[in-house]
């Protein structure tokens, strides 16, 4: 494929290739999160999907709100132990980071990266729940999100993150709207003066995508990671 004329989209097959490359890269980055796992699409007899259909899943993640100066450190090293002491008291601090934790009274997050056949890009679905499994509404968990996301939410309530049906699980999940994805993906991938091969693009696609989307939910990928991949 000619990368210069590339429109920023992925085919379903390329999504799977890119997703698996991303999951592998994720593990080597050692950011302190559990690995993403590939979930093959559940069998729906009438619309049996081709084998390559499925989504990426990162589940039971805890969002907490560390002090501003700790953010960078936490991303790299936190394993969760300290996080229990770092609780909801610090509501006035905007930055958030994600940490795995076994604390019982806390809020957990599930993230799924699902391919959209309409937009031909990855889409982030998420849900939040208490340790007893009770699902949380956006109003209840938006305080965990970074300040810029909260601001965007108040500005565009219906076009930024909305509740929609998970395409595979058919249950209400929150979805980050993908309308502008191709535009900024083209900028991210092709903005560089060196034009990479499509295989390289594919390798980097989900990592680049997640470096933007992750920020909405407070997961940051260190800047040097992306440039190192080039």
């Amino acid at each position: 494929m000619d990368v210069l004329n590339w429109d920023g989209t992925l085919s379903a097959k390329d999504f799977r290739i890119g997703a698996i490359a991303f999951a592998q890269k994720w593990e080597t980055l050692n950011l302190g999160y559990p690995p993403w796992s590939w979930v093959p699409s559940p069998k729906h007899p009438p619309l049996t999907s081709p084998q390559e259909e499925g989504y990426l899943s990162l589940e039971k993640i805890r969002i907490s709100r560390p002090k501003q100066e700790d953010v960078d450190q936490n991303i790299k090293t936190d394993t969760g132990e300290e996080e229990t002491s770092c609780s909801e008291k610090e509501d006035d601090i905007d930055d958030a980071t994600l940490v795995q934790s076994s604390h019982h009274e806390l809020q957990y997050y599930d993230f799924h990266i699902v391919y959209s056949h309409t937009f031909r890009v990855p889409v982030l679905y998420l849900r939040a729940y208490r340790s007893d499994g009770r699902p949380l509404l956006l109003d209840e968990f938006e305080k965990d999100l970074p300040a810029c996301s909260v601001k965007e939410l108040s500005k565009s309530k219906w076009t930024f993150i909305t509740q929609e049906e998970h395409p595979y699980l058919k249950r209400p999940w929150y979805k980050l709207h993908p309308c502008g994805t191709v535009e900024w993906m083209k900028l991210l991938i092709l903005g560089d003066t060196s034009q990479p091969k499509f295989e390289v693009v594919l390798e980097l696609y989900l990592l680049s995508w997640f470096s933007v989307v992750g920020q909405v939910i407070g997961i940051r990928i260190p800047v040097n990671v992306l440039s190192d991949c080039r």
């Binding site: 379903a12 009438p46 081709p50 076009t159 049906e165 058919k170």
Partner: protein
């Protein structure tokens, strides 16, 4: 155009019963009889339904939702589609149950009144626009007043107002000449060359709903009702109308949507049964382009597409679009130009018998 008018004027007579758990008076209130627009959404009927039952409801906050034979109805599916999908034998009036308490939030997306429904509609329109034009700028950049006018036109079933506003969105998929060409083609039978170059290629936003079952029925009325959404599969998939060659039919479109069930068997006697067929059925849907369909069609000039095919695996029992059970030979462009929902998706309901 005339068909579109019928679609917009289409309505389902509803007989709405209040769920017994919310009846606090004796005798229980009689059911409410209401005509629900096909293109509308059930919770929009709340202001009409509430007066029938308000005096008997227990104290609490209203969170309206509907149910049919134990199945919570998804409010973001247009009423006409729910009816087409869940009533194998159209039931008139359609007896459904209304609840004002105990919203099943684990199954249904919460509905915060008209705003939720409006945005579900706009977001659906946005997705359709993306499929048609490759971007959704026209929908996203709509002025507030246009957006409101568009939504009002759908709420009030005002086709003229809808067309006025929606024409600004430039969401035409297929040119109308195609329809007339196909019509004259079937009447006069002229060659395919006359069609070439005059057809505007279009990507059609399709929402396909499939109810699959393994039991055999002589009569659709005998089917046991859907009690769980697990039994229904639905997907959004773009279908590209093939530019070159012959008239692209509904059958061709379904073959792209359901490659495993509408294979070449229904078109070619030579391929019935055998291992080859099994193999071709496994081609991933993503890559089954209309080119392939066209190639196959080219080999058979006198084919008669049938609803049933691949008897060993599955059989399409019924296809419904906007309450109509169209013939499969119908040009897909006609279907698109006449039976599209206001959200610009073509909602197709399929009853599929799968063998175990």
């Amino acid at each position: 155009m005339e068909a579109l008018k019928y679609v917009w004027e289409g309505a389902i007579p509803l007989q709405i019963h209040l769920h017994e758990s919310q009846v606090t008076t004796l005798p229980p209130p009689p059911p409410a009889l209401i005509l629900a627009p096909r293109i509308g959404y059930l919770p929009l009927l709340a202001p009409l339904i509430k007066p029938y039952f308000s005096s008997t409801l227990p104290p609490g906050v209203d969170t309206i939702w509907f149910e049919y034979k134990g199945l919570p109805l998804k409010w973001y599916i247009p009423t006409g589609v729910l009816f087409d999908l869940l009533c194998p034998e159209p039931e008139r009036p359609w007896n459904i149950t209304v609840h004002f308490r105990g919203y099943p939030g684990n199954v249904l997306i919460p509905c915060e009144g008209e705003d939720s429904i409006k945005w579900s509609f706009i977001n659906s329109l946005k997705e359709a626009a993306y499929i048609i034009n490759g971007n959704c700028k026209n929908v996203m950049n709509m002025s507030q007043s246009d957006q409101l006018d568009l939504w009002r036109s759908v709420m009030n079933g005002n086709l003229e107002a809808y067309q006025q506003v929606s024409s600004k969105l430039k969401l035409a998929i297929v040119e109308d000449e195609y329809t007339s060409l196909c019509r004259s083609k079937s009447q006069e039978g002229f060659g395919e060359k006359d069609l070439a170059g005059q057809v505007k290629t279009g990507r059609v936003p399709v929402r396909l709903y499939v109810w699959s079952f393994s039991e055999d029925f002589d009569d659709l009325e005998d089917m046991s009702p859907v009690d769980n959404w697990e039994k229904i599969s639905y997907i959004n998939r773009p279908v590209e109308i093939n530019k070159e060659g012959k008239c692209f039919t509904l059958h061709d479109a379904l073959r792209i949507l359901l490659p495993e069930f509408l294979s070449d068997e229904s078109l070619s006697d030579a391929k019935v049964g055998g291992v080859d067929v099994e193999d071709t059925q496994k081609v991933p849907s993503e890559d089954v382009s209309s080119n392939k369909a066209d190639e196959d069609q080219g080999q058979n000039t006198n084919e008669k597409p049938q609803a049933c095919c691949s008897p060993s695996r599955a059989e399409i029992k019924l296809i419904r679009i906007q309450g109509i059970e169209p013939k499969l030979e119908i040009p897909f462009s006609w279907v698109v130009n006449n039976l599209l929902n206001p959200d610009r998706f073509l909602h197709i309901c399929v009853y599929l018998k799968v063998s175990q």
